[in-house]
């Protein structure tokens, strides 16, 4: 009881004294204001006179009643003031114990292996502890997850403490035990017999358990019965530049069960399920799954484990899909509507600058400013040393691949297509007709992605700081620009050149969850600072009535007495 909870601490004595003096003076002043009597007109006043005794006795009794009423009002006010301030509740009693009841509200406390939840069980244990406190004990209720919060001041009143316990709510955060213990040590500093009652399932890292706060007795009230849980630890996604409506996603799931588990998973976006899969997980197995080519037009995807378990909080994860990065492309060459059309299909995220074919060297100079420079049928006068470049039909001594003549009507060899390469992703070159191509000679380390029976037609070169893709033919001298493969090839070239190939989703993606919170296996015995934390079993409940209760009860009794005496006319 008390107003301490309003100001996060005890009310200063000066404030209490000022309130008492001001209100007491007001009561006394109001009491001396002459009572305004109700005026009653009567036809014959003589009938009313001398009815209740002599005038002297009336005066005496009235005066007595007046003083009694003043004493009654002051008594009621004093009772209410003492009851509200509760000096005994906040006062430190050196014979008592100072408790910090530290309730874990991290994610794992939402597990339902206890009736209600682990947090509900923690509340029950905390209330049992409060009920068993000795009259001289004072307790502060605090909760912790990522940070520690005081839910009450140091109180002796069980009702206030119960209310504070009821305000503890579960969060989706990992528990930070060292921070919580530091907080408890701070609030217990200088108090007699400092004790921390830690109510938790004990899911802490070894680092968190390394150091115990000095000078404080630590007691553990364990909660949790079993650890049958499978949780999503990570979910990540990114858009495919060639198709903004498609995602590449990655999901990490871990089983904390003691037996193999078949876990159905649903991936949804915009309220619709876009992927279903079932994971067979061994006990304790953590698995990362790549989910390519998910059609998800929404900006957010969600993963859900369809099989219920003890902890629902980690059965769902959501990831915000980042928008496509802005890219810059420089096209060097004369007018080419086919290439311009393919670049236009990349959408507004790609900015295209143009240089004429005569400024090919200039294009090479500024290549560092662009994600991709396309030399469309032109070749700079020197070899590239850095940059991300795409050559169409390079010729001359500065060609990145040495040319040894021309090749008429080359035929693409389907067996030599490297469909797994990022440049050829989804690109179908099976029946492309080419009128003429250069006969190129790849260097060591170059990758031939397509060729015509020994003559490379598409080559990729990756060097530190340099990525070059070469088409040995001018697309305009083929029917490739008329096919869907052409814009895909350009998009793939941009993705590959910008080191934006297939994503590697996994734990590094979004929605990463602390696996310790998903591991709901309860810890029966805590080791903190190398010492075993003893269990605390709350004793039997004690009936405690503080001075505040007595004072408030007295005030109510006086009010009742005043009410009855007035309405029954005992005082008349």
């Amino acid at each position: 009881m008390g107003f301490g909870w309003l100001i996060s601490g005890a009310i200063p004595g000066t404030v209490v004294a000022a309130v008492a003096v001001a209100a007491g003076a007001a009561i006394v002043a109001l009491h001396f204001v002459r009572l305004r009597r109700r005026e009653v007109p009567v036809p014959f006043a003589a009938l009313w006179l001398g009815l209740a005794g002599t005038a002297a006795s009336l005066r005496r009794s009235r005066r007595l009643r007046h003083w009694l009423a003043l004493a009654l009002a002051l008594g009621i006010f004093a009772g209410l003031l003492i009851g509200a301030v509760d000096p005994h509740g906040a006062r430190v009693d050196p014979t008592g114990r100072s408790w910090v009841i530290l309730i874990d509200r991290s994610t794992s406390m939402s597990a339902t292996d206890e009736p209600g939840s682990r947090l509900e069980a923690a509340r029950r244990r905390a209330r049992a502890l409060v009920a068993s406190l000795a009259p001289a004990d004072r307790a502060l209720v605090a909760s912790f997850a990522g940070e520690a919060l005081a839910e009450s001041a140091f109180e002796a009143d069980s009702g206030t403490l119960d209310g504070a316990i009821g305000r503890v709510m579960a969060t989706d955060e990992a528990a930070d035990l060292p921070r919580a213990l530091a907080f408890a040590a701070a609030v217990l500093h200088g108090r007699p017999r400092p004790t921390v009652a830690l109510i938790s399932d004990g899911g802490f890292s070894p680092d968190a358990l390394r150091q115990a706060p000095p000078g404080i007795e630590l007691r553990h009230l364990p909660v949790g019965r079993r650890g049958e849980n499978v949780g999503i630890l990570a979910l990540g996604a990114r858009r495919v530049p060639a198709d903004p409506g498609v995602l590449d996603a990655g999901l990490t799931v871990q089983s904390f069960r003691t037996a193999p588990a078949q876990v159905p998973v649903e991936i949804s976006s915009g309220g619709a399920v876009v992927e279903r899969l079932t994971l067979a997980l061994a006990p304790g197995e953590r698995r990362s799954v790549a989910l390519p080519d998910l059609f998800a037009p929404g900006a957010r995807i969600e993963a859900r484990l369809a099989a219920p378990d003890d902890l629902a909080a980690d059965d769902r994860a959501a990831a915000q899909v980042p928008p496509l990065p802005r890219r810059r492309v420089l096209r060097v060459g004369d007018a080419d509507l086919y290439l311009d059309g393919a670049l236009l299909s990349l959408g507004p995220a790609v900015t295209v600058d143009r240089l004429p074919g005569s400024a090919a060297d200039r294009g090479l100079q500024v290549a560092a400013e662009y994600d991709l420079v396309i030399f469309d049928g032109v070749t700079p006068s020197r070899l590239p040393a850095a940059g991300r470049l795409l050559y169409f039909d390079p010729r001359g001594p500065a060609s990145p691949l040495a040319a040894r003549g021309r090749l008429r009507d080359p035929v693409l060899d389907p067996a030599g297509l490297r469909r797994d390469h990022a440049l050829l992703r989804h690109v179908d070159l099976g029946d492309v007709n080419i009128a003429e191509a250069g006969r190129l000679t790849p260097a060591a380390g170059d990758t031939v992605l397509a060729g015509s029976f020994g003559a490379p037609l598409i080559v990729a070169r990756e060097r530190p700081g340099l990525r070059v893709a070469v088409l040995a033919f001018d697309p305009r001298r083929s029917d490739l620009p008329l096919r869907p493969a052409f814009p895909l090839l350009i998009a793939n070239a941009l993705t590959w050149a910008a080191r934006d190939g297939r994503p590697a989703p996994g734990p590094a993606g979004e929605a990463v969850r602390d696996p310790r919170e998903s591991d709901t296996a309860p810890v029966a015995t805590l080791q903190v600072g190398g010492h075993t934390v003893p269990h605390l079993e709350p004793g039997p409940p004690r009936r405690r009535f503080g001075i505040a209760v007595w004072a408030a009860g007295l005030a109510v009794l006086l009010l009742l007495l005043e009410w009855v005496s007035y309405h029954r006319r005992w005082t008349a």
């Binding site: 009572l35 009597r37 005026e39 009653v40 036809p43 009938l47 009815l51 209740a52």
Partner: protein, 302 residues
């Protein structure tokens, strides 16, 4: 009496409905009292009436027409027949118009005026001479009226009466008697709450001393009989203006009620002792039942 249209002045306390009540009341009183009824009071004068009252011995000089020859023939005694003389009786309906009569809900004055009007109507119907002088500090005057059709004048006059007087009833009666020029016998109906510090009995005795047969009608308001006030109040006398601070406990209110009952009983005992009819009314009673009961229970018929 046929339906009579009242002027606006009489439309407050006395309306058409009240007039019909009076008519019905007069018929009911006539049935209750039988054909012998001659008015509110029968004259005690012995004279030239038709009804034999008594005999007395003949003395020379008496009118021989009244000698009872039958008695003389049978008993050889010369006796003179005495007849009760029918005469118009002067009826004064005195309504206390002091401020105390204005209290109560409904006010005592309203019922007092209605009862006074009803009695005046009955008296007028029996050809008595009726005056309705109000007992007020500065009373207006209306000459005595006779004949049933004069009831409208009386109603109009009574309706102007307001509870504004400040003098007690005994002083008001004394003033009335001082203004009264006639010394004829008569009947004085005194309608009041009889709240008089000097003693209300004096008013009745004063009337009796002036050859008037008093009839006392005491009025009390319901909230005077059972006051609802409790606690600290300031009691103010409406007539004297005196104020007294009181704390009214249930015991004090019970004592007041006992005191009021004693006052009423004292007046009744005084009237009974002297043979005055006395009626005690409460102001929320309907006028017709009150007046009918007064005639039925006796005292108003000779």
């Amino acid at each position: 009496m046929t339906a009579v249209a009242l002027p606006d002045a009489g439309a407050r306390r006395f309306d058409e409905r009240f007039l019909r009540k009076l008519e019905t009341l007069e018929l009911a009183i006539r049935r209750a009292s039988g054909a012998q009824a001659r008015g509110i009071r029968r004259s005690r004068r012995v004279g030239a009436g038709l009804e034999l009252a008594d005999h007395r011995d003949y003395v020379p000089g008496d009118d021989l027409r009244y000698l009872d020859w039958n008695l003389y023939g049978r008993l050889d005694r010369r006796a003179l027949r005495l007849f009760e003389e029918d005469e118009d009786v002067a009826v004064d309906v005195l309504v206390d118009a002091s401020r105390s009569m204005g209290t109560g809900a409904p006010s005592k004055l309203d019922l007092a005026l209605q009862v006074g009007a009803a009695l005046a109507y009955v008296a007028l119907a029996h050809l008595d001479r009726v005056a309705v002088p109000p007992l007020a500090d500065e009373p207006a005057s209306l000459p005595p009226q006779r004949g049933k059709n004069r009831i409208l004048s009386i109603l109009r006059f009574l309706d102007q009466t307001r509870a504004e007087g400040a003098q007690p009833v005994s002083a008001a009666v004394r003033a009335f008697l001082g203004r009264r020029s006639s010394r004829r016998r008569g009947v004085a109906v005194l309608i009041s709450d009889f709240y008089d510090p000097a003693g209300a009995r004096a008013a009745l005795d004063l009337l009796r001393g002036h050859r008037l047969s008093p009839i006392a009608i005491q009025l009390t308001a319901p909230d005077e009989l059972a006051p609802a006030w409790r606690g600290d109040v300031r009691v103010r006398d409406v007539e004297t203006g005196e104020a007294h601070d009181l704390t009214l406990s249930p015991a004090a209110v019970e004592a007041y009620v006992r005191r009021l009952s004693a006052l009423r009983r004292e007046l009744e005992a005084h009237c009974r002792e002297r043979g005055f009819p006395c009626f005690t009314l409460v102001s929320d009673q309907p006028v017709e039942s009150v007046v009918l009961r007064m005639f039925r229970t006796g005292g108003l018929l000779g």
